[in-house]
């Protein structure tokens, strides 16, 4: 080897590993129109499925007439619940311990519910056939308001649960009651409140919204009757879970079921659940022996797939007169729609809502969440929420502001006063979470300095003093901690499968590598970031590390990507698998260099003999040796697999500050400035992190400022197209300023916490905080979202502030 030896720094740069803002490996296909999304997939003999949906929210089905549809040329089948009954597939289990109708079984429970499917030669004929299916409905009174749903005489939504006083999560005390779930210590919390000098309470509604990824849901199901094998390409954020469930439902052994999540055009939690459309396409394929494609359109997506939020929350804080919080109490009515199809870990029907003590050292706390059925789309957990952390963070951040306003305290000061201090980590909250690490004060100071907070407050005071000011200025500050990385298998499972994750890595003889994980990217850049982790661990350039996910026939079992779990769980599995390889490589290198393992140092990409720089073996050289002549006692090859069961969740945090100006004449809001500081621990690719932050903040902006899913009294979902559902364009979207601190997770192999949901979780209460802050001088303590111009104007008018 006579080639000049590059410096360690140069070699590290060449790896483009951890910490590098390296460009993405997956971009090439996307920028040339060669992505492979579900609707791009064509198979020989493929048929198309369309779904007949109920136009009403609550009704009995009197009659379904398939004749006209079946008579159309090119139509192969029209199936209803009756046809699925013999297969026992007309109902299916949900991820939340409930059951859901696959096709409406004599009764419609929500508008746009699936009633029948048609299979035809192409999607045009399928659409015609779907329009030709005649269904006769007898409308029933719909229940839309969850409080009304719990009244004694409320209409019965779930006749299939008649007489069942126990649900998957305990007692049901009303026919529309799903569960009541508690966390914390009620007695301690009540005692804190009983003795508190100051208490505040606030009711707030976190409206129902929808993740609305640009690619809708769909699949291509292909049952091969000769091999008895089922292959399904599907928009799924959790392909292995789908495989296990499909196997259970169909009776086909998992070994003969292959689920493939190809390229996915955005997930955001919309693509976690198993939808009736998928089950129907699979059944149709099995029955017809041909591939069947189903891709929903946008209205179907918004109207029938996993929505998010719909939490009616009552929060209370007990405090000292100088703002030290003594206790927290929260009661929630959770509107789950007609079926509890929430994608939560089994033991947590309200997800991680009990992170609602936030970044604060609150000694006594209790929360109770009551799930309720209504005649609306099923779901509840979705949209970058980290399993209800959106709701929890919203609750506590709003309550802290309410308390600040009551005590006439500055909203930054009250937060700093109540922060869990750096020295207190690892910190066990009143709800039992063990927060891994955090340094909130440093981050807060950084943000307040960056925006010149005192100057902003001074400006606001001056504007408030001017009755003719054309705008109201609001400053919103949120200091959030989230909990992600589900999770330790002893508490986190999906349908019984522990929420570990996995990685297998194989290094090839000539030094490049392939790695597969149990997660699945939907834009998060795993093909790049995962390669970067391996590059740093193993000294192989990320450029030659091929990352694959999503094919259950090749990828090790994993629970998928949602809840920001990829980096905390799969990222850890990657590091651990890499370290197994590293350990074997060290043995091989020692053998090659004829020294003891203890005499070797690892430097960037090579094992060096201590004290002799000229004697080294690179990982590439070791790889060749592993296939050429491994040392005695070692198997040939250089690979490892690791299944990582995390010991704990991770707790990324952030400090967000928003300055906005409300036009008093129209109610329109201009976001003047949004400063987002995130701490996700170790940062794998700053460029990718920043992109995720921009995206999450933009989603948060949309949620806070305009998204809603309004239902009328009959259960009709109004505004279920992109005309009304607010997806901001580049014109509406503010400019984002990002910043960071780094507080690694002590229990994570690379100290990384996950980040992609933080901007969504944290920004939404920030916008609300700013809007309310604009009105605070009039004693307004809370305004519900969305803060559309119309709704804000009504508040302006109500408080005599409109021009």
């Amino acid at each position: 080897m006579n080639a000049p030896i590059l410096s360690a720094e140069a070699r590290e740069l060449a790896l483009a590993g951890m910490g590098a803002s390296r460009l993405r490996k997956e971009d090439a296909r996307f920028i040339q129109g060669k992505g492979n999304y579900v609707d791009d997939i064509k198979m020989a003999g493929m048929l198309h499925m369309d779904i007949v949906r109920a136009p009403v929210a609550h009704a009995r089905i009197k009659r379904i007439n398939k004749e006209a549809a079946l008579a159309m040329p090119g139509v192969h089948a029209v199936l209803t619940a009756e046809d699925l009954k013999p297969l026992k597939l007309h109902w299916m289990p949900t991820l939340a311990g409930d059951v859901q109708a696959v096709l409406a079984d004599g009764k419609v429970h929500f508008q746009m519910q699936e009633v029948a499917i048609v299979i035809a030669d192409d999607r045009y004929i399928a659409a015609d056939a779907a329009a030709a299916v005649e269904v006769e409905y007898e409308e029933l009174e719909a229940v839309i308001d969850p409080y009304a749903a719990l009244q004694p005489g409320a209409p019965v939504i779930r006749e299939d649960l008649a007489g069942k006083t126990e649900g998957a999560h305990g007692k049901r005390d009303h026919h529309n009651h799903i569960f009541t779930w508690d966390a914390g210590d009620k007695a301690a919390a009540d005692a804190a409140f009983a003795n508190a000098p100051v208490t505040v309470s606030q009711h707030m509604y976190y409206p129902r919204v929808h993740p609305c990824p640009l690619e809708t849901c769909g699949c291509v199901a292909s049952f091969d009757p000769i091999r008895g094998e089922l292959t399904t390409y599907i928009t799924s954020q959790a392909p292995h879970v789908v495989r296990t469930v499909v196997s259970m439902l169909s009776g086909i052994p998992e070994s003969k079921v292959r689920i493939v999540s190809p390229d996915i055009g955005g997930g955001f939690g919309n693509k976690v659940g198993i939808y009736p459309g998928y089950v129907c396409a699979i059944v149709a394929s099995i029955v017809l022996g041909r591939p069947v494609k189903w891709v929903e359109d946008r209205m179907e997506n918004i109207s029938s797939t996993a929505f998010a939020r719909d939490y009616h929350m009552d929060g209370e804080l007990a405090a000292t007169p100088d703002g030290k919080i003594l206790g927290l109490r929260v009661n929630v009515i959770a509107d789950h729609g007609a079926f509890d199809a929430c994608a939560d870990p089994t033991k947590f029907p309200a997800g991680m809502f009990h992170i609602c003590s936030g970044s604060y050292d609150i000694p006594a706390a209790h929360c109770s969440v009551k799930g309720v059925y209504t005649n609306k789309t099923p779901g509840g957990v979705a949209y970058r929420c980290s399993f209800r952390v959106t709701e929890a963070v919203y609750l506590i951040e709003r309550m802290v502001d309410v308390l600040a306003q009551k005590l006439n305290m500055d909203k930054a000061e009250i937060r700093a006063k109540n922060f869990i201090q750096k020295e207190q980590f690892p910190y066990t909250s009143a709800f039992g979470f063990e927060y891994d690490s955090g340094d909130y004060q440093t981050a807060l100071t950084k943000v307040l300095d960056a925006v010149d907070y005192p100057a902003l407050r001074a400006e606001q005071a001056a504007k408030r003093a001017d009755p003719d000011s054309p705008t109201l200025m609001g400053i919103g500050l949120v200091t959030f901690t989230e909990v992600v990385g589900a999770g330790p298998s002893k508490i986190c499972d999906i349908l019984g499968v522990g929420m570990f994750d996995s990685c297998e890595i194989r290094i090839h003889p000539t030094g490049s590598a392939i790695a597969r994980m149990g997660t699945i990217t939907q834009g998060q850049g795993h093909q790049t970031t995962y390669a970067q982790i391996i590059a740093t661990e193993l000294g192989i350039p990320s450029e030659v590390i091929q990352v694959e996910e999503g094919d259950t026939s090749t990828a090790p079992y994993g629970l998928g990507t949602y809840g920001s779990r990829s980096t905390p769980v799969a990222g850890a599995a990657i590091a651990m698998a890499a370290r197994k390889i590293h350990a074997k490589a060290r043995k091989i290198a020692a053998h090659m260099l004829e020294v003891n393992e203890a005499d070797l140092d690892w430097e960037v990409d090579r094992f060096k003999v201590k004290g002799d720089d000229a004697k080294f073996k690179t990982m590439a050289e070791v790889a060749w040796q592993a296939y050429h002549q491994p040392p005695a006692g070692l198997e040939p090859g250089l690979e490892a697999v690791h299944y990582y069961d995390p010991p704990n969740f991770t707790f990324p945090f952030g400090i967000y500050l928003c300055v906005l100006d409300i036009d008093r004449a129209t109610g329109e809001t201009k976001i003047r400035r949004f400063y987002a500081l995130d701490d996700c621990g170790t940062r794998i690719n700053p460029m990718i992190i920043e992109g995720q932050i921009h995206g999450g903040l933009t989603e948060g902006f949309a949620v806070a400022m305009g998204q809603q899913m309004p239902y009328d009294a009959q259960g009709n979902l109004l505004g279920n197209t992109l005309m009304d559902y607010f997806l901001p364009t580049a014109v509406e979207t503010p400019h984002w300023e990002t910043d960071h601190t780094v507080t690694p997770s002590p229990h994570h192999p690379i100290g990384a916490k996950g980040v992609a949901e933080s901007p969504h979780v944290g920004s939404i209460p920030t916008f609300t905080a700013a809007i309310v802050d604009a009105f605070a001088h009039k004693g307004v303590t809370h305004l519900d979202m969305p803060h559309s111009a119309f709704r804000v104007w009504k508040s302006l008018k109500q408080h005599g502030l409109n021009l």
């Binding site: 329009a131 809603q708 111009a789 119309f790």
Partner: protein, 287 residues
């Protein structure tokens, strides 16, 4: 997502189009920009058995100046309005307002004629046409007739255009020197219809308004000419009180539909705000 079946016709002249309309009657719809009609057909809210595509009729395109009148072909797209040097020079209100309609791609197909003929109260060109004192040339089997914009709009999806007629040209008086104009459109986001919109064309003499036309978008079943508002500001200066009087006169005739953009109170109030803003802006542009 999938439109129902239809027969497709692509006439090459207005005469051919009219003949087809005569033949096919109410079973046929004209396809202009298609960005109102095709989405409705994809959702199966409209199921015409025949589409008559008028995109290949050269006579319906082009913008020219005839004396003091801008003659705009009905199939002129929004982007053509924006880029027209003639309009920028003689009727700047149109290029400016067209930028507030839809988005860049839609503006490459959406036409001024389609926007007018559809009779949708949410469309912008009706109020703009009224403010501009425009007139429309309609052609049918009996020949051509000209109708003032003031008289054309009858109700939601109802205009003076007969089923067997084609809107061919929009005639707009070129602005006299010193004319100021503005279109204030409040909307929830880019591409949305107006929550409330107001078009103003005016002239001033010294410090007072000497001529004015005010028209409102999407606050009634059709675009409205706010004549009482015009009277309230005519001959007056733009004081706070006078502006308010004009706004009040305008809001008095509003009859908006409640929807997700706002309730009646909000939309009406916003109509008033847009009137004030448009008056101020137009006045500021008067010479």
């Amino acid at each position: 997502m999938i439109p129902p079946r239809f027969e497709y016709h692509a006439p090459r002249s207005v005469g051919e189009a009219i003949a087809l309309l005569g033949q096919l009657g109410s079973e046929a719809k004209l396809l202009a920009g298609g960005h109102s009609l095709l989405p409705m057909m994809k959702l199966r809210f409209a199921e015409p058995a025949h589409l008559i595509d008028i995109n290949r009729i050269p006579e319906l395109r082009g913008i020219r100046l005839e004396g003091q009148t801008l003659v705009i072909g009905a199939m002129t797209t929004e982007n053509e309005l924006i880029n027209s040097a003639l309009l920028q020079a003689h009727v700047p209100l149109l290029p400016e307002a067209a930028q507030m309609i839809a988005d860049p791609q839609v503006r490459n197909r959406g036409t001024i004629g389609g926007d007018i003929a559809h009779g949708d109260p949410g469309n912008d060109h009706p109020a703009l046409s009224i403010a501009l004192n425009a007139s429309f040339v309609l052609e049918g089997p009996k020949g051509r007739r000209t109708v003032a914009a003031d008289d054309f709009f009858l109700g939601t999806y109802m205009t003076l255009l007969e089923e067997n007629e084609v809107l061919c040209e929009i005639h707009v008086p070129a602005f006299a020197a010193g004319t100021g104009s503005a279109y204030e459109k409040l909307k929830r986001k880019t591409g949305d219809w107006a929550t409330a919109g107001c078009a103003v064309v005016m002239r001033r003499q010294g410090g007072v308004v000497s001529e004015v036309r005010i028209a409102l978008t999407n606050v009634a079943p059709t675009a409205l000419r706010a004549e009482a508002a015009e009277q309230a500001i005519l001959g007056k200066e733009l004081s706070v009180a006078n502006l308010q009087a004009a706004a009040d006169a305008a809001t008095a005739i509003c009859d908006p539909a409640e929807d997700l953009r706002g309730d009646i109170e909000y939309k009406t109030a916003m109509a008033g705000q847009m009137v004030k803003r448009a008056l101020v802006k137009a006045f500021g542009r008067c010479a």
